[in-house]
């Protein structure tokens, strides 16, 4: 382990659980404040989705209700199944030509808006990211069916772009009018001699984007993974799952892996290609960033090919170091371990230097974070490094396991909305299944702290007395600002300017406010500086005019 080289007394990058910023009683009081303005019916539902964290001696957190419907009329952060499928999981892959089957809106809104960066290596490396393709269904198509138009659109798209693969995404009306998008995809795949696959990711399919992640995982696993027989070169071959290259996060991680001699076979799906995802079965390890959106893929890759997975977190310099050590430990190679330690040592020093500068201006400031399905967890480590206190956090579309850890999966009630989403039957593929590690080896890794096949969830790492809120509403956000008076909020674009009108800065953790990368060591440094900029920006002191600060008309112009 690297020695602490900082002049600070405690290593700011050491991963320690934050002390409680509120007592459990105080947090319970805030919870009461959130619920009291609600009509009884809504209060009853929200009561189960707002939880004061309090872990028992086994590390179990209180149960939180998650992945259930948002009540109609409640202003929510959540989007739809299509957004999770096209926008999140499949969208970032540059060489799969993506066609939205439906009226124009959905394709338009998911066009270049998520900041998934991608870098084509050469002119032959297709990059369709700046294109939005849609069947733009019209009323006639709704009445008479849109399948013929879809088939024609796929042919037209093929003629223009000559892609290796085409993906089709269904929007709400498609499911209702009964277009068989899968038959169209099968037929066109045979006709054109390329991969064509469709996803029934109609917006109404689930309670949030989450259902769309699952549908996308299934489709990519079925139609893309394993379709490229060319084995990649490399000693330590890894797939990175649930990293979408927002603001260039994947680029920073690719840099680190390259430096360490780790071969990144593919990422699901930041800066990825159809070609690289096809090679995923050649990897010897899957590392999982966003557990929520991609855990299905990790499980299926393990079952079918024997590739173990574990959860990593590359947000924060401390967690990045810890995750890299886990990878080195998994491969058990002394050369890799040495390179890993040297890199951590080198790059942490730069992070510590910036922390020393900005931490005195940020220490003790308070944060609320309501975002995504993993980010509200990942970014807590960055705020801990800055000495800031997370008073409350929650996810937009996560499930109970993302809060409480995978140990609760057997207890999760499968409701009608989840039952909609197909769970693929996966079994070991006779030709290619090869467990990369024995059970004994995996047990040894677990014993030394590598979370093999596991994720402990957000609440396990949060202090008792923090308030955990699933699917926070606009109403609650307003109340929280009033009751907790935080110094910073983290959420998305829809919340940003609401919060800032209060005079409180908001950091977008979906799009990063056009900033980033925030992953890895360089990303951590970017984030430290960004939070310093936001929290200590001059503008927040300029909201009140001089005459508001000192309204008395005491001076006379004779005395000026």
């Amino acid at each position: 382990m690297s020695e602490n080289t900082s002049v600070l007394t405690a290593d700011p990058l050491a991963i320690v659980r934050g002390a409680a910023a509120m007592s459990e009683a105080e947090a319970a009081e805030v919870k009461r404040g959130l619920l009291e303005g609600y009509p009884a019916k809504i209060a009853r539902k929200r009561e189960k989705q707002i939880v004061v964290n309090s872990r028992d001696e086994r590390g179990y957190s209180p149960e939180i209700q998650a992945n259930t419907r948002t009540l109609p009329g409640v202003i929510t952060q959540r989007g739809c199944t299509y957004a999770g499928c096209k926008g999140v999981v499949v969208g970032p892959t540059r060489d799969i030509l993506q066609i939205t089957h439906g009226p124009i809106g959905c394709g338009f809104y998911s066009w270049l808006t998520r900041r998934n960066q991608t870098r084509a290596e050469s002119p032959d490396d297709d990059n369709f990211m700046p294109y939005a393709l849609s069947t733009d269904l019209q009323d006639n198509d709704i009445v008479f069916g849109g399948e013929k138009k879809l088939r024609k659109a796929i042919r037209e798209a093929y003629d223009i772009f000559k892609p290796k693969a085409i993906a089709v995404f269904s929007t709400c009306p498609v499911g209702l009018i009964g277009d068989d998008v899968h038959a169209a995809a099968r037929d066109l795949s045979a006709e054109l001699g390329i991969t064509v696959f469709a996803m029934s990711c109609e917006g109404y399919k689930g309670v949030s984007q989450s259902a769309g992640h699952h549908i996308a995982n299934n489709a990519v696993f079925t139609h893309v993974v394993g379709k490229n027989e060319t084995a990649p070169e490399g000693e330590f071959k890894v797939n990175m799952l649930g990293e979408y290259n927002i603001g260039g996060d994947s680029f920073e991680l690719e840099r680190i892996f390259e430096d360490l001699g780790i071969t990144l076979v593919t990422t699901f799906s930041g800066n990825s290609t159809f070609v690289s995802m096809g090679q995923a079965p050649f990897a010897d390890l899957d590392i999982v960033m966003c557990h929520r959106s991609i855990n299905y893929m990790a499980e299926m890759l393990e079952t079918k090919y024997g590739i173990p997975w574990f959860k990593v977190n590359f947000i924060g310099a401390g967690p990045t170091g810890k995750s890299l050590r886990h990878i080195a430990e998994y491969f058990g190679d002394s050369g890799l371990s040495d390179r890993t330690e040297a890199l951590i040592e080198r790059e942490s020093a730069a992070a510590r230097a910036v922390l020393e500068e900005v931490k005195p201006r940020l220490e003790g400031k308070t944060v609320l974070m309501y975002v995504g399905g993993s980010r509200a967890h990942h970014y807590q480590d960055l705020f801990r490094e800055l000495g800031m206190k997370v008073l409350s956090a929650g996810y937009e579309f996560a499930h109970r396991d993302d809060y409480e850890g995978r140990k609760v999966i057997p207890d999760i009630k499968i409701d009608a909305d989840s039952r909609n989403i197909e769970v693929l039957e996966v079994s070991p593929e006779p030709e290619r299944y090869a467990p990369r590690r024995t059970e004994t080896q995996l047990a040894t890794l677990r014993a030394s702290g590598v979370p093999v096949d596991d994720y402990d969830g957000m609440m396990g790492e949060m202090a008792d007395g923090t308030l955990v809120i699933d699917d926070v509403s606009h109403y609650e956000t307003e109340k929280l600002i009033e009751l907790l008076k935080p110094d910073l909020l983290c959420a998305g674009i829809k919340e940003k300017y609401v919060v800032q009108k209060h005079g409180i800065p908001l950091k977008q953790l979906h799009s990063y406010d056009s900033g980033g990368p925030y992953a890895g060591f360089k990303g951590a440094v970017n984030f430290y500086r960004e939070i310093d900029r936001l929290v200590n920006g001059s503008v927040w002191g300029k909201i009140k005019a001089p005459w508001d600060l000192n309204p008395e008309l005491s001076g006379t112009y004779g005395s000026l």
Binding site: Y82, I99, I160
Partner: protein, 462 residues
Amino acid sequence: MPTLPLLRHTGPETVAREALTINPAKTCQPIGALYAALGVHGCLPHSHGSQGCCAYHRSALTRHYKEPVMAATSSFTEGASVFGGQSNLLQAIATIFSLYDPEIIAVHTTCLSETIGDDIPQIIGKAEAEGKIPPGRYVMHASTPSYVGSHVTGFSSMTRAFVDYFAESTGRKSDSYAVFPGWVEPADMAELKRLFSEMGLRITMLPDTSGVLDAPLTGRYEMYPEGGTRLEDIRRMGDSAASFALGPLASGAAAKLLDTKCRVPTAILDLPIGLSATDRLVDTVRKVAGVSVPESIVRERGRLVDMMADMHQYTYGKTVALAGDPDQLCSLAEFLRDLDMKVKYVVTGTPGKSFETRLAELIGEPGPGDFRGAPGDLFALHQHLKAERTDLLIANTYGKYIARDEDIPYVRFGFPILDRVGHADFATAGYRGGLRLLEKILSALMDRIDRDAPNEKFELIL
């Protein structure tokens, strides 16, 4: 490795497409309905469909305005999609009034609820009968399936719906005028109000997003900001002496309904963007209201003509490609013609024959090599630009990919603008707006002259 073009799969050969839209020059109806409803004071827009529609529309408008954009959703799941959205909407109405206390809920439909066939007036009636709508509060609706028209017709339908639900005629005409501003920016609405006021008219503008989507940072968030058309003013619109509908596509339907419903005669005009279209508005107002044009407006006009004359050498003969919405494109094209520029390509995603007819009336039929795509998309526009470049591109933010690839001077205009500010704060409508638009065009053209001039031709004075 040299930088690859961004849109490198776009070639110069135009291929006929029947089924596939690539890089659309439009979006769907509900977002227009949402924008229009934000221009009514105390109104909360409500999207009757899946959560994603509402999330996408709020995000797009927020990115365009850098302002809070509030709307609620019926949060359809599969059950609602099978059994209909009635219970979702009833529940939403009750929830919204108890949590967010708006004066009006403006429901717009989506492709989902329209395909299911939800009967919104019946559901609103039921909500009323069940006491879910508090006294003095209202729920109204517009039908805006995404598979018809575009964002512009959604705006039009919601504006019309406000007239339909609320405008009343008492039988006594007032001396006030109704103004439908069309889908323009808050700054344009403020500028138009000033223009009418300068001419001595009392008006009610519907909708009016000034004071809503350009709100100040005060340290206090107002869910229902100061601005927006007041409900009592919408009611009184039925007694207006006359109405002015600016932009036939966005405003015509509301004005026509106000005429049939309340016998308010209307003048449907082009959007007052640029010199000639503003001239027609001012001249029509003068005649309809029987007022003379004040000296202040004569001076404003003169300043615009002055800049057009002073800088004529830089605009004369320059070719332009345009993408945007029909009402804007007609007036903009006419303004460019007034500047002796040549409008070579025009693309809008919004379908409708009347646009092409009006455009031809204003700037003539397309010449050889010209292209008018209605409906068309940015991919087609780009192919034409590859075949023959223009000197200028005017489009929304999505145009920046084309502008960079083809190295064309570029002015952002229209919806959405996601990467620059100012459009909500500085008008492009009216004579003063014309000055700003012209300044932007000239800056784009002259920056290019400076960039490309060899040392010996680099000039201090332009």
